[in-house]
């Protein structure tokens, strides 16, 4: 009797211990990553990096900054996230509100999203490159945005789908019973309930988009300048980091870490902003169901 009891307590303690250890491991890892890039990049970190573009010889250790890459990354990830939003939201509302949540079509589309989600982004890049060759397009901001849109659609759509599936059916029924059409129910009622979730999903997609290097490698090209049109090639932060790390010069490698630090800070601040807005937008959400 007592032995059994002791064993149960021991198991309880062991399991708790394992869980705590894993949580600590994760937190430790995060701290380690951030401090590594902060420490290594600190010596290279300065304001002129943020306000200048790469000058000649930047990758050899001369003057310059990464403003062009920051802007490039923002344009690509921002543009792609917006486009992906305008494509994913209608699909998701269609399969959940216009059709029944468990219809064959809905399940088929969900399956497609899962498959698309699992495709590595280098494949999207290669696909985009093939399309560009076919259409006779050159590497450009536009091509980068389009390819990253493809990368982001499954992320966004799955995120929004998850949220829409949790919208209480009673809300839909309430709207319909007032004589609302399906469209009005989807776009005036359900959308309000899921707005905070959409923001979170957009943030995830944006994070993936801004950090993606493989898909833009072929499609957005590379440049030392701030793009002036959609048709010009652009640099992105991950590629700048990659090229800087690839040089044999320690001072340039440190700049890579500084760039990584900036990228991390950017993503973090976008995260915080999104949290702020999603709190505001969840004011009217119904969650007692």
């Amino acid at each position: 009797m007592n032995i059994r009891k002791d064993r149960r307590f021991f198991e309880e303690k062991l399991i708790k211990g394992i869980m705590r250890f894993c949580a600590l491991l994760l937190a430790g890892l995060l701290i380690l990553i951030v401090t590594t890039i902060a420490v290594k990049g600190f010596s290279a970190l300065n304001l002129s990096m943020l306000v200048n573009t790469a000058k000649g010889g930047f990758y050899l250790g001369k003057e310059g900054g990464i403003l062009h890459a920051i802007i490039g990354s923002f344009c690509i990830a921002g543009g792609a996230t917006c486009l992906a939003f305008f494509i994913s939201t209608p699909i998701v509302l269609y399969i959940n509100v216009y059709r029944k949540k468990r219809s064959k079509l809905a399940e088929l589309i969900r399956f497609a999203f899962n498959v698309l989600w699992g495709i590595p982004s280098i494949v999207y890049g290669a696909f985009g490159f093939t399309c560009m060759l076919f259409l006779g397009l050159k590497a450009s901001l536009l091509a980068g945005i389009l390819v990253i849109t493809l990368v982001e659609i499954p992320i966004l759509a799955r995120g929004i789908d998850e949220v829409v599936q949790h919208v209480p059916i009673e809300i839909t029924q309430a709207a319909l019973s007032l004589g609302a059409t399906t469209g009005e129910t989807a776009w005036k009622v359900v959308i309000r309930q899921i707005l905070p979730g959409i923001i979170t999903a957009m943030l995830l997609a944006f994070g993936r988009g801004i950090g993606d290097a493989a898909a833009v490698l072929f499609t957005a090209g590379f440049s030392d300048y701030i793009p002036e049109s959609l048709m010009q090639p652009v640099a992105t932060l991950p590629l700048v980091i990659f090229f800087q790390l690839g040089t044999p010069f320690p001072s340039v490698q440190n700049r890579a870490y500084a760039s990584a630090f900036i990228l991390t800070l950017l993503v973090l601040s976008i995260s915080l902003m999104a949290r702020f807005f999603s709190k505001k937008l969840s004011r009217h959400r119904i969650d007692h169901m």
Binding site: K100, K101, R102, P168, I169, E170, I171, T172, Q173, A174, A175, L176, S177, L178, G179, A180, T181, E184, K188, V189, R192, Q193, R283, H284, R285, I286, D287, H288, M289
Partner: protein
């Protein structure tokens, strides 16, 4: 007693996949009376109620056979837009469910989608129906707060006001007091009594005493079958069917 029929159900059969929920229901719901649908849980009360405003269409795998006439119009006519049928009926769900917007916008939602834009008239309509639902005094200073901040009892009255604001002829209530505290339940019952001269009210309830207090007409379902229906005083005092007798005397539940 001469009375007009508002909703007429003919040979209605409903099944969910392989589960038969309603068998061959034929029934007439009288105009401007309170009809109570009673019966043990799982007997098909909600299914019957939701068939009236075509909300049943939303369920997965639902099959509907038969006819329902609302004001002599068959609501299952192929190609018929269910919105104008639904607009005729306000629905009170088992758990009150406000829309994810402010108190004002909840009540204004119906009138807005049906084309009303004038701000002053909207305000007037919102105020009038919140008063009808006995909620105006409690919310008049916080009309623009989220509806979800209200208590459950207030939310149910808000849902009533929201339903009334689209000017329905029928009010459907699916155990509308079952999630409420006794005081809130009593208020809802009183509002129903007040409204019945102007609306046809169909009330699903598994509380027999509530049916006794409110109903003019009783529909007793058991296991998806219509066992007995008729004027409340007759059915409750002198049930014809043994099953109804047993249910009313609390033998089966």
């Amino acid at each position: 007693m001469h009375q007009q029929t508002h909703i007429e159900v003919k040979n209605l059969n409903v099944s969910y996949g392989d589960v038969k929920a309603l068998h061959n229901i034929t029934l007439a719901i009288p105009d401007k009376k309170i009809t109570a649908i009673i019966g043990p849980s799982g007997c098909g009360k909600t299914t019957l109620l939701k068939s009236f405003n075509r909300l049943l269409d939303l369920e997965e795998g639902v099959k509907i056979k038969g006819e329902i006439f609302v004001d002599k119009e068959n609501i299952f006519t192929p190609g018929l837009e269910p919105t104008h049928i639904r607009k005729k009926m306000g629905l009170l769900a088992q758990k009150p469910c406000p829309l994810p917007m402010s108190i004002f916008d909840n009540v204004a939602f119906g009138p807005r989608i049906h084309g009303l834009k004038n701000k002053r008239r909207l305000y007037g309509i919102v105020r009038y129906h919140l008063k009808q639902a006995g909620l105006w005094k409690e919310v008049k200073d916080r009309l623009y707060e989220p509806a979800s901040k209200l208590s459950i009892g207030q939310q149910q009255r808000l849902c009533l006001a929201r339903g009334l604001a689209v000017k329905p002829e029928i009010i459907l209530g699916d155990e509308p007091t079952s999630a409420l505290d006794p005081a809130s339940s009593k208020r809802i019952e009183e509002i129903f009594k007040m409204l019945k001269s102007r609306y046809t009210i169909v009330l699903v309830t598994h509380i027999l005493r509530q049916a006794k207090r409110l109903a003019d007409y009783i529909v007793f379902l058991y296991n998806g079958e219509l066992v007995e229906h008729g004027p409340a005083d007759v059915v409750l005092a002198h049930p014809q069917q043994p099953l109804t007798q047993e249910y009313i005397n609390g033998v089966v539940s």
